[in-house]
Every structure is written in structure tokens, then in C-alpha cells.
Amino acid sequence: MTLPAYLLPSPDGVPWLTLLMLSPLAGLLLVGLGSWLRLDERTLRLGATAWTGVPIALAAVVWSRFDPGATAAGQGVVQLVERVPWITAIRVDYFLGVDGLSLPLVLLTVVMAPVAAIASWGVVERPRAHYALLLLLEAAMLGYFLALDFFFFFIFWEFSLVPAYFLIQGWGRDDRRAAALKFFVYTMAGSIGLLLLFQVIYLAMRQAGLPTFNLIDLGRLGRSLPVEGVEGSLREILFAYMERLGVAGALGRYPLLYTSIAFWAIFVAFGIKLAVWPFHTWLPDAYAEAPTAASILLSAVMSKMGAYGMLRIMLPLVPDASQYFAPVLGALALAGIVAGAFGALANIGGDIKRLIAYTSINHMGYVMLAIAAAAAAPGGATIDSRAIAVNGAVMQMVAHGLSTGALFFLAGCLHARTGSWLLADYGGLRVAAPAFAGVMGTALFANLGLPGLAGFVGEFFIFRGAWATMPLFTALALIGLVITALALLLMFQQLFLGPLREGLSRVPDLRPAELGTMLPVLGLLLLLGVYPAPVMNLANATATQLVAIFQNLLT
């Protein structure tokens, strides 16, 4: 089939994205083969960890073939596109592609997978199943970021819950069952609205003459950009369908009403995943009860699925409602920022994983703030401000993924040494483990947004972008910057400073394998903090095109 200008197939004809998505599954088969051959666990561990390098290599190829500056027909060009008709009856295509919003997250996913794999070296119970689930999770998340047809997008969205659920349930801590169930049911329940919405959109599109689940086309229609084979915007199409059904007669003839309903269906689904306040209470339980590897992947990658969904679906499909409700989103983001910061502070002396989990809520609050600000009504804000907000959100997601992943990894290492998750059981470890303190300190400062490390760039750009449209929320969000720093520094103090606690003198310092895992992550944080262009260039063109519509008053 011929592709429009905004879709660009792989230049060399190789289906790189399919290969990338399938590569963890191939690893899964190898794990299965390995257990059939009765390989010992050590070989299996090393093999599975080494295999996570394959997606990295493939992602690097994808990156090298991606042109970040390409725009066409009012949007960033979606590249390395693979599109094959799949279920013709409901017009489902096998449709993969990357653009500036998904590629940074794809890269983040492949980078964090080996960290998670190494973090599970200590797993003694059913290690084969553990590795199989990790690889499955990686595949599902990659699929989610690559799929551009809602049918597959949603399948990957739901499917990624399954390995995560079993990782928590099978290898987690004492309260794992409750936490896993809460996590699973909460996310599932939240996405029902999304699922129903897309059935309605499909039917409305069928009435308009182009039945499709194609997210790119729907996003273009949402932003009133031309799509071949159909007239009008998504808002008009939905409204026309509502009139046809007679719903409009009963509920009211306001097009915004129907896009608003659509907006809330989308927002609740993704908001829960992003742990936007007040939908965040599953997160501390899930992160805290999960085994280390799952904590790493959940916090580093999975929470970004929510933000990605908002950027991919919410903003383009229902820009008018997004703009209308942007102040609400901003307020929720602010609540999350403050709640996360103080929630972290409340865990000083308590559970280290809960503390890190709460800082994640805080950081995802900034991402939410950026998305809200990018969509907010024009108050003299320039398009640059909005693009900066989205760039900042992407950068923040990458930086937070790296730094929080590193913190969970190191928390896991601490637990492996002492058997305690309680901060109150630690003290003065820097004497016994100076390198550990240095590495954890670096991860922590990256997390709290120290300039020179990547977290700062994301936060600064978010604040810059958000100030243009939401100065009050932005100013109040500063509380989060101070309180999170306080919580993290007190955590560091509790762990490492002061006189060495009795019984900890034999705690070994960072092992070479652990150092080897952390150094690339910290190196990336430093590199992106000093020179963020590699990530931000990826996002900038797509982001600028995406937010252009919000320069107009849409409601």
C-alpha cells in the first residue's frame, strides 16, 4: 500500500521494528530451550542478561536510521513504518513506527532491561520463569511504544500487565498478593473506558467513511489535519455520529461534551498508569512489594506508558477537551508533585522502596504538569514554550527512568546485603562501603535534579514550558523540588552518614558486577545532563508539530 508523506518506511526495507519487538520474545524461546536442555542456572542468567543486548543493538540501528528533524503535513514524520493489513473485517493493520515521542522511550526500555536482568541474578526461586517474564515484559512494553494501531496498542497495554503482575505476585515481598491485585485491577478497570471509547470512534469513523483504528490518522483528524478518504475533524465526526444515534438530542448538542467524555475516558486510563494524583495509591504498594527487577522496569518504563499514551492519544485526538480541562490536569499534577514529595518525606526512616516510589509520583507529576501546560489555552504563550514543555517531559521521562531504575537497583543491592528494607536499620554505611555511597549518591542527585545530570534538564524545561501557560501551578510546584531534595538527602544521610551501625561493618562494598551495571546508567545521566541534545533533538520536531494546534483557542 502507498504511504502518505508523514509515514516513512524503513529506508533499507528491513522490518527493524518487528525485529526489535520480537527480539525479547526470541530470548524467551531461548530461555525455554535452555531449561529444556537443562542448562544450569548460571548459564541461563548470563545468557538471558546477554540477550538483552540484542534489543539494544536493534534499537541502536533504529536510532541510526531515524531522522529526528523530519516533518511533513503538520506532524513529525513517523519513520521505519511497517504497515500490513491484518484483520480486514475491522480494518486492523499491523502498523508499527517510531517518531520523536516513542523513540526516546524505546531506547529507555532497551537500556533498562539489562539492568533489570542483572538485578535478578540473586533470584533463587524459579529463575527461569523470572527471566521469561522479564523478557516478556520487555517485549510487551516495546510493542506498546511501537504499535500505532489502537488494536495492537491496547493489546500490548493490557498484556504488559500480565508479566508485571506475575513478577510481583511470584517474587515480591510479604504483601505482594494484595499489591499485585491492586495494581492489576486498578489499571484494567481504568482502561475499560478507553476500550469502549475506541469502539465508538471506530463506528463513528465508519459512518464518516473511513473505519480505522489507526492512531496516526485519528490523531491527525483530531487536530483537523487532512487525512485521505475522510472529511472534517474527529470532533465533527464524533458529533455527527452522536446525532445519528440520537444521543446528541438527549444529552445536548455540544460537540465539546462528546470530546470531553472521550477525554476523560482516555485520561483516566493513562492517568492511573502515570500515577496522577489521586489515582496514585497503587504505585507505592506495587513498587515496594515488587521484586527489584520488576520495581526497576515498573518505575523506569511502565509509568512512562501513561505519559506516552497521553502524548500519543489524548492530546492529538481530543485537543479541544485537553485544552478545556488543562487547568484541571495542572491542578492534579500539582497535587501529585506535592503529595509525592511529602509522601516521600513521611517515609524517612521507613521503607526505602516506598520512599523512592513516592519520589516517582512527584516526578511523574512534573511530566503531567508539562502535558497540561502544553495543552493549556493560549495566554500569549509561544509555540516554543509548549514544545519546550513536551521536550522537557520526554527528557524527564528518560532521566527519571535511568535514575529511579538505578536507585531501585541499589536499594535491591542493599537489601541483598543486610536483609532489611527499613531505613531505620541502616546508618554510617559510607565507612564500610564508600564506593556504594558514591554511586548511590550520584543516582540520588540525578534524581533530585542536580544540574549536570539529566534530571535537571527535564525539570528545567518543564518549568520553563509550564510557566508560560500556568505560572501559579509552576510556582507552587517548586515546593516539590525542595521537599523531594530534602527527603532524598535525609535518605542518604540515614543510609550512609554518621557512625557505622553495629552489625553493618561487614557489609561489602559495591561489587564489580554492580558497578559495571551502574556505570553505564550513571554515565548516560551525566552525558545527557551535560549535553541533552541527543534525546531532546529526537523529540523536538515532533513535539513542536504536536503542540501547534494549542496555539489556537479550541473551545
Binding site: L196, G452, R464, P471, G498
Partner: protein
């Protein structure tokens, strides 16, 4: 000369390289090697910085790789408002995309920058050398050098930053180094608490400053220094900032300037965020000298100086606030310094007070005076701190304190820092005495030392500008400065040595055993005569003192009325109008200084024959003295208000999470389960099996639910897919419009 301009980037890069080498190579295993690496690379950077100053002083500039000569402007601070001299060097590279623009980063050197670079490198080099001797006993000396090398790199980078974002990034890295170095002795609770306090208190200022940057960038489209199109000192832009109103009814310029100034309040420890600096004295003394006296704390003043056109753009509102905060801090801190006994704490409050002078000077428009005082203060305050370090070093070796050292290291150090326990060190530490005396006289503002000229210039600006209140407040602060420094100097160097029976510091973290305390307090007396053998001054400690002392003496010469062809060499170099020298103000300023010295000399002439005596001021006004000694109880006030508020909020948010939000989630979950059960009972028992089968139906329901929850992955997966597919099919094919 071109080589200095073209290679200016090496100035921050060399200390950074030193930091990297010391941290990541085997150099870290050797204290001496790491120290000399840091010193060697910094010495190279110092040469480059001095060369750069020479090149810029000649007016050389690099434009697109071509060497040109700049015309030096005069009297720029007239009707047209403040302007910077033409930059000698601007190098920029693209850093990050920002929508349709690109944010560039780079270096910007003009004559004030070159002067700052020379000051920072020289002061830092002296302190590096001093540290080599001072920290020799510490096994983590290499780590110390890697931190201060990183700090120096950040300070230099900040000075040279071509835009405020890079400025802020380097500024924050300095904050990190400050945190690391205050908490360098991390096993001491006091040290790490002071470190966290310093980081958080300055961060409060920093995040507000960040907001100021964001605000500015939103309006200008860039953060680059310069007057060109799209740069932040563009005259048309500044006029717009001063005219248009933003949030809270302030003009944009006022809002931005005040937010930026919050950064200064945090970093330069101005009231009300001053509380971190006295506690920061927990860091090793070279750190106090470098970071908490000479360079980092002065960065806040430099920030105002660097963004001065924005402060000026609103017609005086922002500068009024600046003046008020500066003058208030100058006096406030000077009063606290009167009643302190810790030698470093006195100097810390003195630093606060002097920073207040600089801030106030900028506030009344004395740009040159403020920056000039920054430069001279850096040298003589670093000198005083290093002198204090030398004294403490010697005091720790005295028998009474050395004995205490075995029981409680921290208490021993605090006891060694108490000026009541000193006395008569003039003969015991002659080099320290003479250099310290020069630093003291410079700080007190005695003719013809550095501090006299720079402080006089500030007072002259206040006088000339008609700021009567500011003039009086600063003159009073100057009087108190001379007084408390005389008190300290007199108690430390004159009279008899009182250290045989020291006032022992009671460590609240670690109460000393009663018997031991008694032994250290009094048991030492019979052997006190033998103590002179312990006094020594190492050359590594003395050499930097001498260098810094020479600057403390000569620093003022740079801006004398007759120091250059046009007079006022520095003003001329910086392209500013020379301050008018007023003999009247100079006389007042000298009288004030001498008055303070005389009062101090007389009052403390016969005080403290033994360490345990009451301070003469305390005898006269015990209540006031206690209040001053407790630093106006600001810390206690903050702990009782903000500290409690934060703790309370943390509890409140945790409670909301656990009981309200999670309660709703659990409630919904229970409701769903209940509805499900109800539905099942109705469906399965009432409609299928009939009332008779009710009992067995209940049992069956349990069995069936159990079967659903097999806990096997495939099953759940199956349900999941089943659900998705069924829903899709139902909606697509059954519910047809």
C-alpha cells in the same frame, strides 16, 4: 596574548580534569599525589586566568577568530542606565532544541569576568596549598582535593557562563560541593546535619531563582548575556520588562529581579536565609575559607552584578529591596558576631555582614564598589579563615585539648576553636599573628589596607547618592566590625595563654564521661609550662598566608583615585565611571574604624584572665548578650515554624493517601466484590437452580470463584484476551447503529 583568549575554556577545564583524575585514577590512593595534581593543574589555570586578565586589560578581543582591540567606554553609568563593557570573548555552541529556536551554551569573558577569574584562581590556589598541609592527617585527603577541584571548576565556569542557565548549573554544582565539603567529616552528626541544612536552605533560594530564569526566558526567548537581539540586556527588551506588568501587579523586571535575588539571598546567606552559613563552619577550615568566605558565597553578589541591568530596569523597586536586605544583613550579622566565642563562627557572621555590604552597595547603584569589595574581601577573609585554621591546628596540639581529643574528637575541635581558650598566641604563632593582623586591619577598614578603600567606596556611594539611612546603618555595621574583630584579635593573640584550663565544649551527641572531663579541665595545669614545645607553624600553612596577606595590603591599590592614567584603574578597566573620592567620607570611615578598634581594645584589655570568665559585654547587658549569643534564636524559630509545618504536612499527606484515597479504592473494590456476589446469587441460584438449590448454589459459587482464581498465568491471560475479544465483537457486530 591571543593564546589566552582562545584557550580561556581551559581555565575551568583544568580543575575539572584534576577532579576527574583524582576521582577515577589510582592517584586517589595517594594523598600527596592527588594534592599536587590539583595544585599543579590549578596553578596552570591561574596562569591562564592572569594572562587572560592581562589580555583583556589591554582591550584585546576575539571576534570570529580574529584578534581585535576594543575601545574602552567611560561613564557608561549615566542617563542611559548601566552597561557592561564590550565582551572580549563570546563562544557558543548549540546545546538543546527549544521549539523553533535552539538554546546555546558557551563562554563570555569581559573585563569584570577576567578580574573575577584571576581572584578565584589565586585565592583557590592559596587555599589548595594550605589544604595540603592542613588536611595531611586526614586519610581521605584525596577525596577532599577532588571535591575542592570540582568546586573551583564550577565557580570558574559560573563566572565565565555566557547565559544564565549555564550560570545556574554551575551555581548548583557549587552547592553540591558545598554540601559534600561541609559534610566532609560525615561521621559527625553535626557535620552532616549542617550539610543538609546548607543544601536545603540554599535550594529554597535556588528554586526561586530557577523560577526567575524561567520567567525571564519566557519573555526574552533566550538567557544569553549580551545586548543583541534576543539577548537579555537588549535595551528594547529591558524597556519592555520595566513597563509591562506581570503577576502580583509587579512589572516583569521587578518580578524577575526579585526572583533572581532570592538566589542571592540563599547563596550569599542574606537574611532571612542566612541560617546555613554559620553551621557550614562544620566543614574543614580551608573549605570555610574557599567556599564560605572567598568565592561561593560571593557568587550571589556576582549574580546581581551580572544581571544588574534587569534590576535597574524597573526604576528602583527591586534595587530598593536589594539595598534593604543587604544593609539589614550587614548590621544584623555584625551584632551577632559580637557575642560569639567560636573563632570561625565570628568570621562566618563577619562574612554575612560583609556580603550585606556588597549587596547593599549594588542596591544603591554602586556597581563598582560592590564588586571591588567582593574582590578585596575574598582575599582578606580567606586570609583570616586560613589564619584561624592555623590557630586551630596549633590549639589542637595543646595538651589539654589533645587529651580531650581521645575521648571526643568533636568536642576537642570545638574547644580548640573557642577564643576564650586562646590568648597570647602572638609570640607562639608569629607568622600567623602578623598575617592575621593585616587581615584584621583590612577587614576593620584601616587606612591604607584593602578593606579601607573598598568599604570607603561603598560608604561614599551611599553618601553621594543621598541614601542617609543606608549610610548610617553601614557605618554602624563598620563600627561593630572593627569592634568585634578587635575583641577577637585581642583575645586570641594577647594576654596570657588560657588553654591549660579550657572551657570544654559539651557535645550533646556524646556526653563526655564525668571523670575524664574533670581530668582534661584541670588536671593539665601542673604540666602547662611544657606546652610551648608544641607550637609550630608549617611552611605549607604559612606561605599561602603571606601571599594572601600581600593582597590584603595591596588589594586596595587597584582602585585608588590615582591608580591609573585616568585614576581608578578598576573602574576604568570595567568601563565604568570612577567613584568620586570624598575626603569627608574617608575621614568618617576611618574614624569609625578606629573608634571600633579603640572601644574593643579598651573593653577587652583586662578581660578573660582565665577562660571561664564572663564576657565584659555580658556583664553589662546579660539579656542582650544571650540573645546575640543565640543568634536571635532564628534557628529555633524556623524549627518551630517551618520545620514543624513540613513535618505536619508530610504526616497529613501520608494520612490522606492511606485513609482517604486508598480507602476509596478499597471501598470500590469491596463494593465490586459485593455486587459480583449478589449478581451471582441472583443469576445462578434464583434464576437457574431455584430457591431450593440456594444452599448448594452458595457452595457452588464458592467453588466456581475458586476455580477462577487458579493463579496460573495462562488462565489469566486467557480471561484477559477473552474479555478484550468479546467486548470488541459485541460492540462491533451486535450493537449496530
Amino acid at each position: 596574548m591571543e593564546v589566552f583568549l582562545a584557550n580561556a575554556w581551559l581555565i575551568p577545564a583544568l580543575p575539572l580534569l584534576a577532579c576527574a583524575l583524582i576521582t577515577f585514577t589510582p592517584l586517589r590512593r595517594s594523598n600527596a599525589a592527588s594534592g599536587w595534581t590539583a595544585i599543579g593543574l590549578l596553578a596552570l589555570a591561574t596562569l591562564l586566568a592572569l594572562g587572560l586578565l592581562g589580555a583583556t586589560a589591554r582591550g584585546l578581543a576575539l571576534r570570529d577568530g580574529q584578534l581585535t582591540t576594543l575601545e574602552r567606554g567611560h561613564g557608561a553609568h549615566g542617563e542611559a542606565g548601566f552597561t557592561f563593557p564590550e565582551p572580549n570573548l563570546v563562544q557558543r555552541v548549540d546545546w538543546a532544541p527549544a521549539g523553533e529556536r535552539v538554546l546555546a551554551m558557551g563562554l563570555y569573558v569581559d573585563t569584570p569576568v577576567a578580574t573575577m577569574l584571576a581572584m578565584v584562581t589565586v585565592a583557590s590556589l592559596c587555599i589548595h596549598i594550605f589544604s595540603l598541609g592542613y588536611m595531611a592527617a586526614n586519610p581521605r585527603q584525596s577525596r577532599f582535593f577532588s571535591f575542592i577541584a570540582l568546586f573551583t571548576a564550577a565557580m570558574l565556569l559560573m563566572t565565565m557562563a555566557d547565559n544564565l542557565l549555564l550560570f545556574f548549573m554551575a551555581w548548583e554544582v557549587m552547592g553540591l560541593c558545598s554540601y559534600l565539603l561541609i559534610g566532609f567529616l560525615y561521621q559527625r552528626p553535626q557535620a552532616y546535619r549542617a550539610a543538609v541544612k546548607a543544601f536545603i536552605v540554599t535550594r529554597i533560594g535556588d528554586v526561586l531563582m530557577l523560577l526567575g530564569l524561567v520567567y525571564l526566558w519566557t519573555l526574552t526567548g533566550s538567557l544569553a548575556l549580551g545586548t543583541g537581539e534576543g539577548e537579555i540586556f537588549n535595551p528594547a527588551l529591558l524597556a519592555r520588562l520595566g513597563d509591562e506588568h506581570g503577576p502580583l501587579g509587579l512589572t516583569h523586571a521587578t518580578g524577575i529581579a526579585l526572583l533572581l535575588f532570592c538566589g542571592t539571598i540563599g547563596k550569599s546567606a542574606q537574611f532571612p536565609l542566612h541560617v546555613w552559613l554559620p553551621d557550614a563552619m562544620e566543614g574543614p577550615t580551608p573549605v570555610s575559607a574557599l567556599i564560605h568566605a572567598a568565592t561561593m558565597v560571593a557568587a550571589g553578589v556576582f549574580l546581581v552584578a551580572r544581571t544588574f541591568p534587569i534590576f535597574e530596569a524597573d526604576g528602583g523597586v527591586a534595587l530598593g529591596v536589594v539595598t534593604f536586605i543587604g544593609a539589614f544583613t550587614a548590621l544584623f550579622a555584625a551584632t551577632v558576631a559580637l557575642a560569639q566565642f567560636d573563632i570561625k563562627r565570628i568570621l562566618a557572621y563577619s562574612t554575612l555582614s560583609q556580603l550585606g555590604f556588597m549587596v547593599a552597595a549594588l542596591g544603591i547603584g554602586g556597581w563598582v564598589a560592590g564588586l571591588f569589595h567582593l574582590l578585596t574581601h575574598a582575599f582578606f577573609k580567606a586570609l583570616l579563615f586560613l589564619g584561624a585554621g592555623s590557630i586551630i591546628h596549633a590549639m589542637e596540639a595543646t595538651p589539654a585539648i589533645a587529651r580531650l581529643h581521645h575521648a571526643d574528637e568533636y568536642a576537642a575541635q570545638q574547644t580548640a576553636q573557642d577564643i576564650r581558650n586562646m590568648g597570647g598566641l602572638r609570640t607562639r604563632l608569629p607568622w600567623t599573628f602578623w598575617t592575621y593582623t593585616l587581615g584584621y586591619l583590612a577587614l576593620a577598614g584601616v587606612f591604607p589596607l584593602a578593606g579601607f578603600w573598598s568599604k570607603d567606596e561603598i560608604l561614599a556611594d551611599a553618601f553621594k547618592g543621598g541614601h542617609a539611612v543606608v549610610f548610617v546603618v553601614l557605618a554602624l555595621a563598620a563600627f561593630l566590625t572593627a569592634f568585634y574583630m578587635t575583641r577577637q584579635w585581642r583575645l586570641v593573640f594577647f594576654g596570657a595563654f588560657r588553654g591549660e584550663h579550657p572551657v570544654v565544649f559539651i557535645n550533646p551527641e556524646k556526653p563526655p564521661p564525668a571523670h575524664h572531663d574533670h581530668a582534661t579541665g584541670h588536671g593539665a595545669s601542673p604540666h602547662a609550662t611544657a606546652d610551648d614545645a608544641h607550637w609550630h607553624e608549617s611552611p605549607l600553612l604559612v606561605a599561602p598566608l603571606v601571599v594572601l596577606a600581600s593582597f590584603a595590603v595591596t588589594g586596595g591599590l587597584f582602585n585608588l583615585p590615582f591608580s591609573g592614567p585616568g585614576g581608578h584603574w578598576l573602574s576604568d578597566l570595567w568601563g565604568q565611571e570612577a567613584a568620586t573620592f570624598s575626603p569627608l567620607v574617608a575621614a568618617i570611615s576611618l574614624l569609625v574604624a578606629l573608634g571600633g578598634i579603640a572601644a574593643g581594645w579598651v573593653l577587652y584589655g583586662r578581660a578573660f584572665h582565665t577562660a571561664g570568665e564572663t564576657d565584659p559585654l555580658e556583664q553589662r547587658a546579660p539579656g542582650l548578650f544571650r540573645l546575640l549569643y543565640q543568634q536571635y534564636r532564628v534557628d529555633a524559630l524556623y524549627a518551630a515554624s517551618f520545620g514543624r509545618l513540613v513535618a505536619l504536612l508530610a504526616l497529613a499527606w501520608a494520612w490522606i493517601d492511606r485513609h482517604v484515597l486508598d480507602g476509596v479504592v478499597r471501598g470500590v473494590g469491596r463494593l465490586t466484590l459485593f455486587l459480583g456476589r449478589l449478581n451471582f446469587i441472583i443469576d445462578d441460584t434464583l434464576l437457574n437452580d431455584g430457591p431450593d438449590a440456594l444452599a448448594s448454589g452458595t457452595v457452588a459459587s464458592g467453588r466456581r470463584t475458586r476455580r477462577l482464581q487458579t493463579g496460573r498465568a495462562q488462565d489469566y491471560l486467557g480471561y484477559l484476551f477473552g474479555g478484550v475479544v468479546v467486548m470488541a465483537l459485541v460492540y462491533l457486530y451486535l450493537i449496530r447503529p
